[in-house]
Symmetry: C2
Amino acid sequence: MAAPTRRERLRTATVTEIKDGARRLLVTGGVDAISLRAIARDMGMTAPAIYRYFPSLEALVADLAADLYNELRLRLEAARDDAGGAPVAQLLAMSRAFRAWSTAHPAEFGLIFGAPVPGRTAFVEGSATPDHPGARLGAVFIQPILDLWRRSPFRAPPGELLERRLGGLLEPLRLSHGEVPVEVAYAFLAGWTRLYGLVAMEVFHQFDWAVTDAGALFELELEMFTAQLLAGPPTAQEPPAASDGPPAASDGPPAAGRLTGDEGLTGGARGH
Amino acid sequence: MAAPTRRERLRTATVTEIKDGARRLLVTGGVDAISLRAIARDMGMTAPAIYRYFPSLEALVADLAADLYNELRLRLEAARDDAGGAPVAQLLAMSRAFRAWSTAHPAEFGLIFGAPVPGRTAFVEGSATPDHPGARLGAVFIQPILDLWRRSPFRAPPGELLERRLGGLLEPLRLSHGEVPVEVAYAFLAGWTRLYGLVAMEVFHQFDWAVTDAGALFELELEMFTAQLLAGPPTAQEPPAASDGPPAASDGPPAAGRLTGDEGLTGGARGH
DNA sequence: TAATTTCAGTGAACAGCGTTAACTATCGCA
DNA sequence: TGCGATAGTTAACGCTGTTCACTGAAATTA
């Protein structure tokens, strides 16, 4: 396979041309604008020819979605690699890269992170397997959190509690990542859902009614979460001072704090 | 208008029948399965007749989406009213009601909270106005947070910082809710995005690869967030003991804690 | 080299879609 | 009784995904 035949070369070229056309339609007209006839028209072909390359429109879209997952993952990995060796700096860079790509490519974001549409997106595609591109994407965040945990355990709910509450349901994650400490798994899940929620609400115009500059809220939330990760374990003394400068503060170091409770979960609502 | 004419009665009946049909198609086949011809067929009509009631398919879907927003909002308000007077208990009940409705109605959730599709959802509908049903939905969460803040201010980043970082962008929110304290606005935005992220990822099958029981993660995160809200201000002494029982703990009160940092934002990544 | 198989692409067709136009029947009111 | 508004019809246009039978060229085999 080191030397692809001429046929194979032409074939892969056609495949990428088809997917490029599909993406162009996605960007300009939304997912419903992706049509075999339009793609073929742009290529100077007829629609049935595409069936030599993809079994259906849905399969084509699924393939495109996988490409987008990978494109985004490579972007995140590049941001991580440019951020130096500090895990928290890596997480910051990856989170910002995630938002940057998502806001720059809202249609693509909607395709891979929006609601799965039966005829369009492969419905409930094999998203439960670690081979799924979405799994490989989310997984990129796990390693820095794991590194951080090993260097200096961050503040987290006690492991016994997490194990009791989450232990059973982490099997899929551990299946693909070995024995991840439950605190790491929890920090990942909590952080990933917050990151996703923040970005998805912005891209989907979900809080246009409340906020004008979603970027400022994003940066603030980013600091809140990393502050958690930088906080040592319950009884730890202060680690040495900062080395990286504040990358996003609007005017001077925020020097905020006290967002979060310290006396922990009481297990329910405390009366008025 | 107290006595609608016979014509009007028939008309509204037809309108609701059309929307019922649209919703049925949405549920069974996804948003792309909503078609004027299918709706009309189910009603024993022909497709062009629907144009007497809606100017286009897109308008019909937008109308259906508004209904769904309102249905969900009523559900949340009912949950709030059943939860007694304690704000945190209200927030818990509303959050659980939000997830319950969303997981029970994934297609509907996808329509109103997923990616806006140009030809289907009204593209970037007037979502920046406080009249938007989505705005009215999110706004339901603000009042309990405001009540809680007035009774006993919860732990939050200092107001000056929040005002400096978020002040300018909260205009739309304040436009519809008067002078909400910035700490309340921040708690709302942070909580709403977390709630949305958690539920959307579950409904959209976004972390099937990592987790088997999203409900357990949801409950854990719920407790984490409410623990923040129950924590008093930085130097406050302990308020009186609990009155509401723990509504969701699996076995006994979790009594966890120390999730979150206390020394606050340092403004950037601290070296390895 | 010649025969044959594989493969990319075409054109016609089917069923379905949103939407418009012209037309008809009925209902409510003066 | 007559008339205007309203609700519905049929026909048609252009679009869609998909299948089928077919053609022409390229690669492989005898």
